[in-house]
């Protein structure tokens, strides 16, 4: 019997997918692959909804339990964990419809929008740190921006994760300050080529080689970004007086215009009187 190319392709596709018989899920396609496992788009037959299914080796089952502890708007919620017939473990989670941060930046979002993503990701990190969880592998590929602007930090790490060059802190073992390093690298990554020097200084402080020289926690880094957005001086940068003046003028533009108008009125009256 001859098989058409499309049937062969379908069989190859199905053979590449893990066996999920005995679960409530039907796999659709692979949507991501990393050192920790493979992520598939799947359908939950019982609830008739699409989910993301991450399949990984049995010894990494701790990752699912780790993430399941985290409940935050910017952390993808876990629906269920289980074991496949081949012994591997899986967990089902919300299927995020959106784009990775690196692809999102190709749309040239505004600086405010870029910083919003960083702040949302930072808030997720700050929350995770309060529960004793560190990410270990924060990078643009692990941050998703949803179709409604929601931000998700994905792929929370376990001990086996070594981080990604450029985003991985130099120290070992990795700890909270290593996530601050990665968040600084992420901030540097999202800044446009003509990004403000104050924000570059914030990123540089977060990425200092000595963890003790970085921000003490994610909240301090986020506070510095917030200060920048409010037109205030950032902690990370000894601002030159010229920048300080420009920032002051920008922050108080309305008041300066009103004072200039008053001075103008007085000058005009003074000269009219002497005509």
């Amino acid at each position: 019997m001859d098989l058409s190319d499309s049937v062969l392709d379908h069989l190859r596709h199905m053979a590449a997918l893990p066996d999920v018989s005995g679960t409530r899920y039907e796999l659709e396609r692979e949507i991501g692959r990393g050192g920790m496992g493979v992520v598939y788009a799947a359908r939950d037959r019982d609830l008739d909804r699409r989910v993301a299914l991450k399949v990984m080796e049995a010894e990494l089952a701790g990752e699912a339990r780790l993430i399941a502890r985290l409940e935050h708007p910017s952390i993808v919620p876990i629906h269920e964990t289980g074991r496949l017939p081949d012994g591997r473990v899986f967990y089902a989670m919300k299927l995020v419809v959106g784009v990775r941060l690196d692809h999102y930046l190709a749309r040239s979002p505004s600086l405010a929008e870029r910083l919003r993503v960083i702040r949302r990701a930072g808030e997720a990190l700050a929350y995770a740190h309060t529960t004793g969880v560190i990410h270990r592998d924060l990078k643009p590929q692990n941050v998703m921006v949803g179709e409604f602007g929601e931000v998700y930090v994905m792929d929370w790490g376990v001990e086996a994760v070594a981080g990604t060059p450029g985003f991985r802190a130099p120290e070992t073992p990795l700890d909270r300050r290593s996530d601050i390093y990665a968040l600084g690298a992420l901030l540097e990554f999202v800044l446009p080529a003509d990004g403000p020097p104050a924000l570059r200084a914030v990123a540089a402080k977060a990425r200092r080689p000595d963890p003790a020289d970085r921000y003490p926690d994610v909240g301090a880094l986020l506070a510095d970004i917030e200060r920048f957005q409010e037109g205030l001086a950032v902690e990370a940068w000894a601002e030159p007086w010229r920048h300080r003046l420009v920032r002051f003028a920008a922050r108080n533009a309305v008041l300066l215009w009103l004072l200039a108008a008053y001075a103008g009125v007085k000058l005009v009256l003074f000269f009219l009187r002497n005509l």
């Binding site: 009103l258 008053y262 009256l269 003074f270």
Partner: protein
Amino acid sequence: MNKILAGSICGLVLGAMDGATAWFYPETHSMMGAIMVGSSVKGMVVGILCGWFARKVQSTGWGIVMGAGLGLVFAFLVAAMDTVNGRHPYLEIMMPGFAVGAITGFLTQRVGTSGSPVRPAH
């Protein structure tokens, strides 16, 4: 500090400073005391009203408009009561009063806290 107190202080200080500029006109030197007091009181009244408005409406734009309007009205009243060389100095008092009122209106929106729930303006 509530908005009304902040407004009264801003208005008082700005009014006094505006009154002090009369020093540049030699013919007013003999009346500086009265000018300073009058200008300060006018500024304070405008400031109090701007502060009251700022408690009700949180909007920099409307604060400036209200301050400028009040400054203009009170400056008109002062000018109408005053006579220099046989004429009312409307221009000389009302134009700066308008600008000082606008500054007072702006500052009362920025300084001080609202004592009552604020209704954002659209």
